[in-house]
Every structure is written in C-alpha cells, then in structure tokens.
Amino acid sequence: MPAEPIMELLGVDKYFGNLAAVNQITLAFEEGEFFTLVGPSGSGKTTLLRMLAGMDKPTRGDILLRGERVNDRPANWRPTCMVFQSLALFPHMTVGGNVEYPLKCRGTPPSERKERAVRCLELSHLPISYYDRPVTTCSGGERQRVALARALAFDPEILFFDEPLSAIDYRLRKTLEKEIKDIQRETKKTFVYITHSLEEAMVMSDRIGVMRDGGLAQIGSPHEIYSNPVNRFVCEFMGEVNSIAVTRGNGGELWCESMGAAITPPSSVETSFRQGTLMIRPENMRLVNPDEGRSTNVFSGELFNEYVLGSRIQYQIRCKNDTFLVERLREAGLPKSGDQVSFGWNPEDSMLFPE
C-alpha cells in the first residue's frame, strides 16, 4: 500500500444543533484502496461521507485532499464522485444521457462522450443496446449498473458509495459486490464504501473502519477486526458471539458466576481488572467427546435447538442460565435436539474484554 494518503480527515466534527453526528474523526485513505465504513444505522457513516464528497461542511476539523484543505470546496469542484443509496439517476434521461452527464458538464465533445460512456457501460456489465433506453425502464440491478457507469464516466480520484446495494435482493447483491470489487481492482481507484452489512464489508474491503456513535471504534483489515476486535462493541458487531460475564480472582483465575465454574482465560491477558466479558465466536466452540478426558473450559448442557446454515450447522445449548451457540461442519452422527452434550473451547480462541 502506498504511503501517501489521498484523503485525510483531521479531528472532523459535524454537529446538527447540539447533536454530534460525527465526532472527532481522524482517518486517512490510501491511494487505490477499498475502504469500507461499517456501523449500525445512526452511527454517522452517511454524514461523514457527505462531508467527504463536499455536500456538507464539517463543523470542526479539516479534510485534506492530497494534502490540500478542501473543507469549503463544493461537490462540483472536487475530483470525487458518489453513488447514492437511492442511486439518484436522472429519470428524464436515457441510460446514455445519465452516463454522459458528467462529461457534458465538463464540456467533452459529443463523439468522445459517447465513446467513453460506452466503455463505462461495458465496465459495469451493461449491454451497449441500453444506451438509448429511458433509465426509468431499467430494472433495479440495471439501474445500479447505470449509477456505477455514471460515476465511472466522471473518472473520479475517489469513488464514494452510500449503501448502494441495500435495496437489492440477496443473489444480485452478491454478484454486484463482486463486480464492484473487480472494477476497483481494474481501475485501481480509491473506493470508499459505506454499509451496515458486515458481509459486504468483509467481501470487498482492503480495510474496514467500524463506526459507533459518530466516532471510529476500530480501523483494520477485515481479518484483524474480526479476530482481534478492540472492544466488545466491535466484537459483537463483526458477528455472532458467545459472551460470558466473568470476575477475576486474586490469583488471576476467572470465575463465571452464572455457571458457577472457573474458566481458563487466554494466555495474553491484562491483569488489572475485576470484571469483564469473555467472548468466543460460535465457530470456535466445539462439541467435546466425554471420552476425550479434557477438563479445561468444558461444560455440559442440553442441546435444544439447531439451525442448518448451508454447509454448517449451529446449535443452541442451554447450560444453567446461559445459552451458547456452537457451530460446526455438517456431517453424519451429530447430536440432535434434546441430547445432553459436552462443549468447550480452546482458551486461546476466547477474547477477554475488561469492563
């Protein structure tokens, strides 16, 4: 990854009245990377993106584009382009008219315009025959591609996406996710993508920023964030997880009140806390054969529910007052609902978050 950031945010705030929609964000996008901002709705993603695109101004802080402050530069003077959640296509124009619009604004001659529009349509997998179609006659997926082609025709240095796939059905969304990623690789442009869907973020991104309450909770590669979340929020946001409230004894051992049992913590653990939460992802839980003779972090409970997740299966196991999720590959000879089972986890697969 090149060292020079294409865009930088330095302590950016955005207030609506007294409400901080974006709060003290400092962040840099590297040239050519696919960066995804994820977070629950209301976490400030769209507000942040609008400031980056130039549709809103920050209340405080600076936005730098290749080192130059662009806080006050309006959207039509920035070399960036956005694909809107609603797509915001021009309903009174044809597909071609939509795609050529940025070129028209720039004064590109008509022949050149069309040539470039056709190339962008190809890039976003739209048949050239769509060029003369009214955009209102296109299906949902085709409109996505028109919006993408229009943004590409602009030839921006950074492309912003504001949850463009949220209204698309699952299968088409999967296809388009891959296509967007492919286009990014092919064009080597910087993509900044917003989504509340973790899956989308994981599939497409080089780096992910997790947002919470207007701030950035963690930045890192998908793998980093998934396996080493910095806090309980990130951990929970990145996927299903089993959490156990624990207390730390004087000798450093963990005690789980609800299960009335001692728990072995992961080896690298802070020592200065009394209470915390231990978190284990379902795929790191295992069903234990009682004959194995292992005793560390092994409990027994009643298997009361099972969900088939394609090639995998997820169990819900009730142990005292807690319910655990255990996931594993589907194969023959697995226990069924109603069975008493033993389950456990490798202490190194667990994450401990002090309160």
Binding site: A53, G54, M55, P74, A75, N76, T80, C81, M82, F84, S86, A88, L89, F90, P91, H92, Y101, P102, C105, R106, T136, R150, F154
Partner: protein
C-alpha cells in the same frame, strides 16, 4: 362451454364497470358536455332568440368580426400571457423557498398564500383599489407624511396585470410546488457531485423534472386569466375591455344570448387550443407520481 363461461364473466365484469362509471358519465354529460352543447347551439341562433333550436345562422360570428371584438380577444390574450409569465417568475423562487424551508416558516408562508382565498375575489380587488387610488391608503399616507403622493395608480393596464398576478398566485404556486416535489434532493445533489454548476442543475435537472407542474400551473393561470374580468373592471376602470366583460355584457344588458354564446365558443376554442398543445407535453402519470 368454457369459452362461453369466460365470455359471460368478461361481460359481467364489463357491465359492472360500466354500471359503476355511469354516474360519472351522467354527471359529465349533464354538467360539462350539456352546457357546452347548449352554448354551441345558441351561438348559431339569430339575435334576440332565447331558444337554442331555431334555424342556424352565422350572423353572430360575422358581427363579432365586424364590431372590433378582436380588440377584447387581443387584450385578454395579451394579459393572460403577461400575467402567466410574471406568475412563473414570481412563483418559481417562492415554491423553491417553500420547499426548502419546510416546517414552521413554510407553513406560515402557505397560510399567507392560502388565506386570501377565503375572501371573495372582488372584495380583495376593491381593497387594492382603495390602496392604490388617489387619496387612497398609499397616496394618502405619502401625502400626509411627505406632502406629495403618486395620485391614482389604478385605471391603467399595469394595475390590471397586478390584480391578475395577485389573484391567480395560488393557482401557479401550488402546481409549481407539486412540480418541484418531483425533483428529489439527491438527484440535484448527484448532478452537483458530477460537476454541474447551479445554472446547469436548474436547466438540466430542475426545470425538466418540474416541467409537468410548471406546465399545469401555467395552463391553469393562462386559461383562467383568459376569462378574467374583475381585474379589468375594478382596477382597470374601463381602460380596456376583456372578452369576459363583453360576454357578460351580451348576456346581461345586451340580452343577446346568441352573441354571448358565440363569444364564449371562440374563447373556449382559444383556451382549448392552449390546453391541447400543453397537454401533449404533460405525462399526467408522472405528475401524479404513478410512473
């Protein structure tokens, strides 16, 4: 057997549809086409006849040509064009402001625009006469304060245009507002983001998308302005005569229904032509959001 059944089903659904729409057809027939046909019939009756079923004649139309009625038609047309154009220029920014400042401010503005509609048109116009007349509110106040005033500002064509713009403002404002609601904020932002200047956005995005509302408003104002007469009567004070005044005179003092009807027919043709050309450009489905 099967086909027979389906035919009877089609027929029964058809007839129930006809049955349901029958009241509408009757209403349209009686309330719209009936009077229209009556006016047409009267317009070809000889002068002074009070029955629509005499021997047809074109004398009313010939009289209309011979008696300089083109002047009234001309003034009505000119006033309608001028006031429609002014209404567009005034209402477009007003509608934009209303749309932008939704909430308290917009509600107040809307109320201000709508409230006068609850007062009779002529009373409002009389109010303006009292405002603009010699020794009226304006002239009187200025005279009192500064020792000189503009005198009478009524009794001229601009005052008629003023009255028309004032009276018909809501008829332009609300269709334009409807038209502008067809311009999504994000579409405008998208254009901006793609490098369009404010002027380009106005020309390429706003105007075309708001066009149905603009056309409907213009059409509405144009057609009702064509039929205006109170403004010319009260504010114009006889400086010109509009065609609606001629029609009124023919039906009342003239006791010449055929003449009035012939004038009305010509006015309907004039308005109808405008409607025809404008409607060719409007996709009603688009306006009503059923696209």
């Amino acid at each position: 057997m099967d086909s027979q059944k389906s035919i009877s089903r089609v027929w029964s659904s058809l007839s129930s549809g006809l049955l349901c729409s029958a009241p509408l057809f009757v209403l349209l027939g009686l309330g719209f086409f009936g009077p229209l046909a009556l006016v047409m019939l009267y317009s070809v009756q000889p002068r002074g006849s009070f029955s629509p079923f005499g021997t047809p004649t074109l004398e009313n139309y010939i009289d209309i040509i011979e008696q300089a009625f083109y002047l009234s038609f001309g003034w009505s047309l000119l006033l309608a064009i001028i006031s429609t154009a002014l209404l567009l220029i005034i209402c477009y920014p007003l509608a934009l402001a209303l749309k932008r400042y939704s909430g308290g401010m917009a509600d107040t503005l809307t109320l201000l625009v709508v409230a006068p509609l609850f007062v009779a048109e002529n009373i409002r116009l009389q109010g303006w006469v009292l405002f603009f007349d010699k020794a009226g509110f304006l002239d009187g106040s200025l005279n009192y304060l500064f020792g000189f005033g503009p005198g009478s500002l009524v009794n001229n064509v601009p005052s008629i245009v003023f009255g028309m713009v004032y009276i018909y403002l809501p008829f332009m404002l609300f269709p334009v507002l409807l038209g502008l609601s067809n311009v999504p904020t994000d579409v405008r932002e998208a254009a901006l983001d793609l490098g369009a200047s404010k002027w380009r956005i106005f020309r390429d995005i706003e105007i075309p998308l708001a066009m149905p509302g603009i056309l409907i408003g213009s059409l509405l104002c144009f057609v009702i302005s064509l039929g205006a007469f109170s403004e010319a009567k009260f504010l114009g004070k006889g400086v010109i005569v509009t065609i609606a005044q001629d029609i009124e005179s023919a039906f009342s003092y003239g006791q010449n229904w055929p003449r009035g009807s012939a004038l009305a027919v010509l006015l309907i043709i004039l308005a109808g032509t405008a409607v025809f050309f404008a409607m060719r450009k409007i996709d009603l489905n688009k306006v009503l959001g059923t696209r």
